[in-house]
């Protein structure tokens, strides 16, 4: 493949509310394998940010280590990015979010980066409700080290080398719900109709938003016997579609009464959830966990917005941290001065 990305763009590319074209949200050309599910996620992020008219430079993208964590290079070239160490992006994101609450944070991780080496930090990130969107590109295997099973590989899934996985896979979406995440979604990299609005909704949510994206590894985990191949995922997908209408847009689409359910986010945006074949209540954590469990037992992959609490309090709110970003505070706000220090000295005599 070519590593040179053409600079030419159609002169009449549509612009969003800020006057940006989709090209303003793109990154460098991907060096992932051709057909990698992760590239579809990158593309969904680009479209989501374009459609939501986010200022590219007000977004910060962070990642850990692995194929997934290379992704931030391939989208949002005008945003700062931070490729941290393996499994420890959550802590970097936490510090970044405390230092500047004025940016929108996207964390990109993988199943190895989150469910194994980064499990501790992931759980504590949820617990603290750091205001960010956290996407796991979940392919059930370690790509960069050539296809070992990851901790999300399903029980019984067959590796490229023929070994049957003897362990139960960790379901990150259920874990996130159990640990109190305010926004939990699951999607499939091949379902951009669902993934894009899900990412837009996640970025509008004022708190920790988790999306587990099944993203097949074309090189090491796309064969017969793998439960995370394109074919197997498509076959078992149980998708709950949704639309996202940002705060400043009018709701123009008409839905038949009784077929959709609207949820308003803190910033005024509305998520329209289309009912799937069964009743589903997005605001009921226990019911959501139950539904995911039932689907798994039936060999189905339930995708969509699994749980949402639009009113959860994020870390900066919980700690009662100043509205002005901490990184903008200067000497006057931070340094108590010599008079105060002299009185402290006095107390130490």
């Amino acid at each position: 493949m070519s590593y040179l990305k053409p600079k030419f763009r159609h002169p009449n590319l549509p612009t969003n509310a800020l006057g940006y074209t989709v090209a303003d949200y793109e990154g460098s050309i991907s060096t992932l394998c051709a057909g990698c599910g992760h590239d579809s996620i990158s593309s969904a992020i680009i479209n989501a940010c374009f459609q939501s008219s986010l200022e590219p430079h007000k977004i910060a993208k962070l990642s850990g280590i692995g194929c997934s964590s290379k992704m931030p290079t391939y989208f949002l070239g005008k945003s700062h990015g931070f490729n941290s160490v393996h499994g420890r992006m959550p802590s970097v994101a936490t510090g970044a979010s405390l230092a500047n609450r004025g940016l929108t944070y996207i964390g990109i991780s993988g199943d190895g980066d989150t469910a194994s080496i980064g499990m501790g930090q992931f759980v504590h990130l949820i617990r603290r409700n750091v205001n960010m969107t956290y996407i796991v590109a979940n392919n059930g295997c370690y790509g960069l080290t050539k296809g070992q099973d990851s901790a999300t590989a399903d029980l019984g899934s067959v590796s490229k080398y023929g070994a049957v996985n003897p362990f139960d896979g960790i379901d990150l979406a259920s874990l996130a719900m159990l640990q109190g995440a305010g926004f939990v979604g699951r999607s499939f990299s091949g379902d951009k109709e669902q993934l894009e609005p899900l990412i837009r909704a996640a970025m509008s949510h004022q708190g920790f938003a988790f999306i587990d994206v099944v993203s097949p590894c074309v090189t090491f985990n796309n064969h017969q016997g793998s439960t995370k191949s394109y074919a197997e995922t498509r076959e078992n997908l149980d998708a709950m579609p949704l639309d996202f209408v940002p705060m400043r847009e009018e709701i123009t689409t008409q839905y038949d009464p009784g077929t959709t359910q609207g949820v308003t986010l803190h910033d005024g945006s509305v998520i329209h959830l289309h009912k799937a074949s069964h009743e589903y209540r997005t605001n009921d954590r226990t019911a959501a966990l139950n539904a995911v469990q039932m689907a798994t037992q039936e060999g189905r992959i339930l995708t969509g917005l699994l749980f949402l609490d639009p009113n959860s309090q994020n870390l900066n709110q919980n700690l009662n941290i100043a509205s002005k970003p901490l990184n903008e505070l200067g000497k006057n706000e931070l340094c108590p001065g010599s008079r105060v220090l002299n009185s402290i000295n006095e107390g130490l005599r």
Binding site: E55, P56, H57, K58, A60, L62, P72, T73, G77, K78, S79, H80, G81, F82, N83, S84, V85, R88, P90, S91, V92, A93, T94, G95, A96, S97, L98, A99, N100, G102, L103, G120, Q121, H124, R128, N316, L319, N320, I321, A322, S323, L326, N327, L329, G330, K331, E333, L334, C335, P336, G337, S338, V340, L341, N342, I344, N345, L348, R349
Partner: protein, 626 residues
């Protein structure tokens, strides 16, 4: 029997049971001496335990202002039967032993070369107080009363201290004062007071101390204040002895001084992380985003932070790490002091890494250097590790008062904001425009379409683009060496003192001594003692790594240089050998790694032994320090 005598020069040690409130009574004792204007240095020697194990508190009184440990005990106050045998044995011949004689002293604990003072502490308190808690707590205050009589502590000072401590709680004040008086009265009625060792306000105290306005504070509190004054806004940490009180104190001061008056919201964030890996990650994330951030930890935490320190070194991100060292390796002795993380900190992480280290020796320096650490971290765009230790961090030290220059401006280093990016032609994150190895960084959100880049630990070219080219890699890591060279002119220079005149020199050798941190106080004392004995030794106190060029010169100028430090392997000696290309034979280690701070006597003995001096010259040594 010849009794030890002297005014304002002695060592008192308390043997207590931990968790019984003794530390606060012992602190009352030490602080009263401080309030009398007499140099005093208290040290809590405590177990890693909540309640019930032996604990000691050593108070050194020194008219000359020596604040390090001397070695040996002149007066032992023993209220813990568990350790009595060892405590009796540790008293210097001619010394004194004060004990609770509610139960009679076992015959085998009788020595004929020390003086015993039995006080029925338990009996008195059982009689006077009705609850077990009061009986236990006030027993400690009673012996302070006894000491007030034996050593001539000014009683009104003790009363004032109790007033300060229990402000507004009249009942507590009166019960404590009563306990003090009870002890005082018992001593005056039963013993010859005062003892030949005693206190005298003014007395023979060194003039420079009499005239100063010293404060008494611990290093961890001073670090916390340094973080407040240095403009730290994000603190992320994981509890670990002996660093915990750094963030505790930061929280206390921040709640007082960093609340926005208009909104009541916090101009700071403190996160107790899930572990040290996360703590340093948060600090690095905040630093990447342009906030001043720090963590405080100890040896095991430093090990866990090593991976991230490598990333921050290579990605060039500011971070401040306070390492309050304790005895390692592993859990080691978590409540005992050492200077044993030197090499682990200097070369923390995999690959070729070197970190800037600061070595404070006093609370005042803890304050100043913490402020400076935040400046250095942003100027040099790299982690700064401040090497404190338990002795400095958790014990009260007499220190010159903290000073603040209201004209201080935070040094934020080379950061391009939106205007800077407009002006800068052809900006690249790792382009060494100024030739000092320090490049211009940008913060997220600064400019709509300039200055964004992908921060990474992987190799990159000057424009921060991923690159596996050997040339790009070499160019980058060589520039980091250049930056480390630049750091030499930014960090605090070493302190030297004019050599002490020796009347009848016993050696023709040109001798020098190098030390740092808490080894400095006993080292200066040892050097003065050795000068009186005929050995003149020049001194250099190291205050930072990378080393100043004057260190090379100092070593070159001397025939033999002693490196005084508190670890087994002579880690500072190794670092000097490695970084300054010094032959091992030029540097002689003087060490202590028992967990209790090094004593002046031990330094004297080791140097004399090294010089093959006659044994008669050796100061009598207590077994503990021998």
């Amino acid at each position: 029997m010849k009794q030890i005598a002297g005014i304002n020069d002695f060592v008192v040690k308390f043997a207590n049971v931990n968790g019984t409130g003794s530390a606060s009574a012992n602190h009352l004792f030490a602080k009263s001496i401080f309030r009398m204007g007499i140099p005093v240095s208290p040290r809590n020697i405590f177990p890693s335990n909540i309640q019930g194990l032996p604990t000691w508190y050593e108070v050194r009184v020194s008219s000359k202002g020596y604040l390090g440990r001397r070695g040996g005990v002149d007066l032992m106050v023993c209220v813990n039967p568990q350790s009595m045998e060892k405590d009796v044995a540790s008293v210097e011949p001619g010394g004194y032993f004060l004990f609770d004689n509610t139960k009679p002293l076992a015959p085998h604990l009788k020595r004929d070369d020390i003086t015993y003072f039995g006080v029925p502490l338990t009996q008195m308190c059982m009689r006077e107080y009705d609850t077990p808690r009061l009986q236990q707590l006030l027993k400690n205050v009673v012996y302070v009363g006894v000491l007030a009589a034996l050593l001539d502590i000014e009683f009104p000072i003790l009363k004032n201290l109790l007033n300060d401590q229990f402000k507004g709680k009249e009942k507590l004040i009166s019960s404590n004062v009563h306990a003090l008086e009870m002890g005082y009265q018992y001593a005056t009625e039963n013993f010859q007071c005062p003892l030949p060792i005693r206190l005298e306000s003014g007395g023979n105290v060194a003039p420079h101390i009499l005239e100063s306005e010293h404060i008494l504070m611990n290093g961890n509190t001073a670090v916390a204040l340094g973080a407040i004054y240095g403009g730290a806004t994000v603190a992320a940490w994981y509890p670990i002895t002996p660093s915990t009180s750094v963030v505790d104190a930061f929280a206390k001061y921040a709640e007082r001084m960093r609340i926005d008056p208009g909104t009541g919201k916090k101009n700071f964030a403190i996160v107790q992380a899930e572990d040290e890996l996360a703590a340093i990650g948060m600090v690095i994330g905040a630093g990447w985003n342009g906030a001043r951030a720090f963590t405080a930890t100890s040896g095991p935490g430093l090990s866990l932070m090593s991976e991230f320190l490598g990333l921050a070194y290579f990605a060039e991100l500011p971070a401040v790490l306070i390492d309050v060292q304790r005895s390692g390796p592993s859990t080691g002795m978590p409540t005992r002091s050492q200077q044993s993380d030197i090499l682990a900190a200097a070369y923390a992480s995999h690959g070729d890494t070197k970190h800037v280290l600061l070595f404070p020796a006093t609370p005042r320096e803890c304050f100043d250097m913490t402020v400076q650490a935040f400046d250095l971290a942003e100027q040099l765009q790299t982690p700064i590790i401040m090497m404190s230790d338990l002795d400095l961090g958790m014990n009260d030290w007499m220190s010159p008062p903290l000073e603040w220059d209201d004209d201080y401006q935070m040094q934020r280093g080379k950061v391009l904001d939106a205007d800077g990016l407009e002006e800068a032609k052809d900006w690249g994150r790792y382009v060494d425009v100024d030739g000092d190895g320090i490049c211009y960084r940008t913060l997220p959100g600064a400019h709509p379409d300039r200055g964004s880049y992908f921060t990474r630990g992987s190799s990159k070219n000057e424009r921060a683009i991923y690159s596996e080219s050997g040339d790009d890699y070499v160019q980058n890591v060589d520039r980091l060496v250049r930056k480390f060279e630049t750091a030499k002119s930014y960090v605090p220079a070493p302190k030297t003192h004019p050599p002490i005149k020796v009347k009848k020199p016993k050696t023709k050798l040109n001798l020098g001594a190098v030390f740092f941190g808490t080894s400095a106080s006993p080292a200066y004392e040892a050097v003065e003692t050795l000068a009186e004995m005929g050995y003149g030794i020049d001194t250099m106190r190291i205050r930072a790594f990378p080393f100043h060029e004057s260190l090379d010169q100092f070593i070159a100028d001397h025939d033999r240089v002693f490196v005084i430090e508190q670890n087994r392997d002579g880690q500072m000696r190794q670092l000097i050998m490695n970084e300054c290309q010094i032959a091992p034979s030029q540097l002689t280690s003087v060490l202590n790694y028992s967990g209790t701070p090094i004593t002046a006597r031990s330094i004297v003995r080791q140097i004399l032994e090294a010089l093959e001096a006659k044994s008669a010259d050796v100061v009598s040594l207590h077994p503990e320090t021998a």
